[in-house]
Amino acid sequence: MRDVYIIGTGIHPWMGFSEQVFTDFAAVAVDGALKDANIEWQKIEAIMAGIFIYGGNAGHLSGQYLESIFGETGIPVVNVYNACATGSASIRMAYNSIAAGETETALAFGADVSPKGFLTAKSDNAVQDRDVIRWKMGGLPNPIYWALECRKRMEKYGTTEEDLALVKVLMSEYGSKNPHARFKKQYSMEEVLKSVYVCDPLRLYEICPVSTGAAAVIVTADEELISKADNPVKINATTMGSAIYGDPTIRISALSCPSVPEAPMLSESYSASRQAYEKSGIGPEDIDVLELPDNSSWHYLVYLETCGFCGDGEADKMLRDGETKIGAKLAVNPSGGFSSHGEALSAQALWQVIECTNQLRGRCGDRQVEGAKVAMAQTYGLMGNSGTTIMTV
């Protein structure tokens, strides 16, 4: 295995619903990545594309649709879907292909145009697709799953409504400084606590909506390209995890979960992060910047514990004591997180990697984490999907 570097990244800023097609957004992100890497399209030897699940045949073959825009060159184009961890899968495949010596330079990208309103069932077969049951019989939109876990947490560890609101206060402060963010308004504690409940105990400002966005990352082992790049970022590990038997988390689209835990909560993320720590030789104590999936304020807290940044039930204290702020030893979500962006399914994991890359390259302006050398991007996808990427300069 050889060293693999990120040399170029591109983003189409996050936004709400759009009538534009997903390839328009993808092309903006890929153009940006090519320009940042200072290379021509023909240098790309493989495309690992995130599937845009609501895009029909085009969305399922997003890599081919993208390739035809820039010019078809006969290279391998693979399309992959792992729910909200889709981008983790695409960058991992790009990394593995290069590390194994099969490819010199590869592109990982994802682009998503969110459907109007809610994400709902994509089939009508209740036997094979339990998503159908949870919508037709369960009355269970996604945030309910998070609220059920959040309530358990409050009962077990004493997490307060102020803790949940504080996450949003912090995320909105950082999001207001991020030109890529969709939501740039800064909120006070009082404003968050006055926002309506969506599903008690989670309020409107404490859960993230669905968004439109695109992200592209160019990775390479080509020494010439690396030497020409502006602050290339090394990928120390990029892993994926699935759930472990006995995980007590009530997973999105499931109707049941085990009542006697035999595995950690969010075991797919526990697994992905531990694989990354082992492969990279880097642990939570070494990390300067962490981008975690704050789909809700509950996620912000639990992910600090799942990924080993503190013990179980200790994240609230970390937050209250300011230990997750920019300027503390660990900066959590200096991007403003999903709270300031919303989810763009196939793009968001790459967007997290790009925020980490920008921090390591010192490009983040008012939200820059000074002296950042080690960063980690952690994703969370429904039905047991997760990825971890650890990067250094």
Binding site: R130, L140, I144, C199
Partner: protein
């Protein structure tokens, strides 16, 4: 239960009321001991032979392991003619089966919800179909 003959589940094989008591339709693996809900939601222990899966009914009563109150109407394909919003959703634990199941909470003061309280499985009538049958789903209510 009154007039259950005129009721039909919107999706079959999830809830049973044929014995007079409303119970969830589960399956149990006699090799690894795991209960599944829905039945087809297989979650075997790794290494399990997967032999001897049998259909079983969960207990009629369990304990509330968690809950939330949903403040906006559930979007389609959820469908009900009733104004149920805001509605409670419970995660009810069936101790012997070592499983927790989600369900809409009805006939219960939502202010009285508390983790650990005893809940029983019941039926929520959602809408009337063209055959004039009540289309139902499972639900939970506090044990009186």
């Amino acid at each position: 239960m009154e007039n259950m003959a005129n009721k039909v589940a919107r999706i079959p094989n999830l809830v049973d009321w044929s014995t007079g008591e409303v119970r969830l339709m589960s399956a149990k693996c006699n090799s690894c001991g795991t209960y599944f809900f829905p039945r087809e939601h297989y979650q075997h222990r790794p290494g399990c032979s997967r032999e001897g899966v049998e259909n079983v009914l969960l207990a009629g009563k369990g304990k509330l392991a968690s809950y939330t109150i949903q403040y906006y109407p559930c979007p389609a394909p959820f469908k009900t003619e009733k104004k149920i919003t805001p509605y409670g959703i419970g995660l009810v634990e069936f101790e012997n089966e070592k499983i927790q199941v989600t369900g809409i909470i009805i006939d219960t003061d939502l202010k009285s919800l508390e983790i650990g309280m005893e809940m029983e499985t019941t039926i929520l009538e959602m809408y009337t179909n063209e055959e004039k049958q009540q289309v139902v789903t499972w639900a939970f209510k506090a044990v009186q």
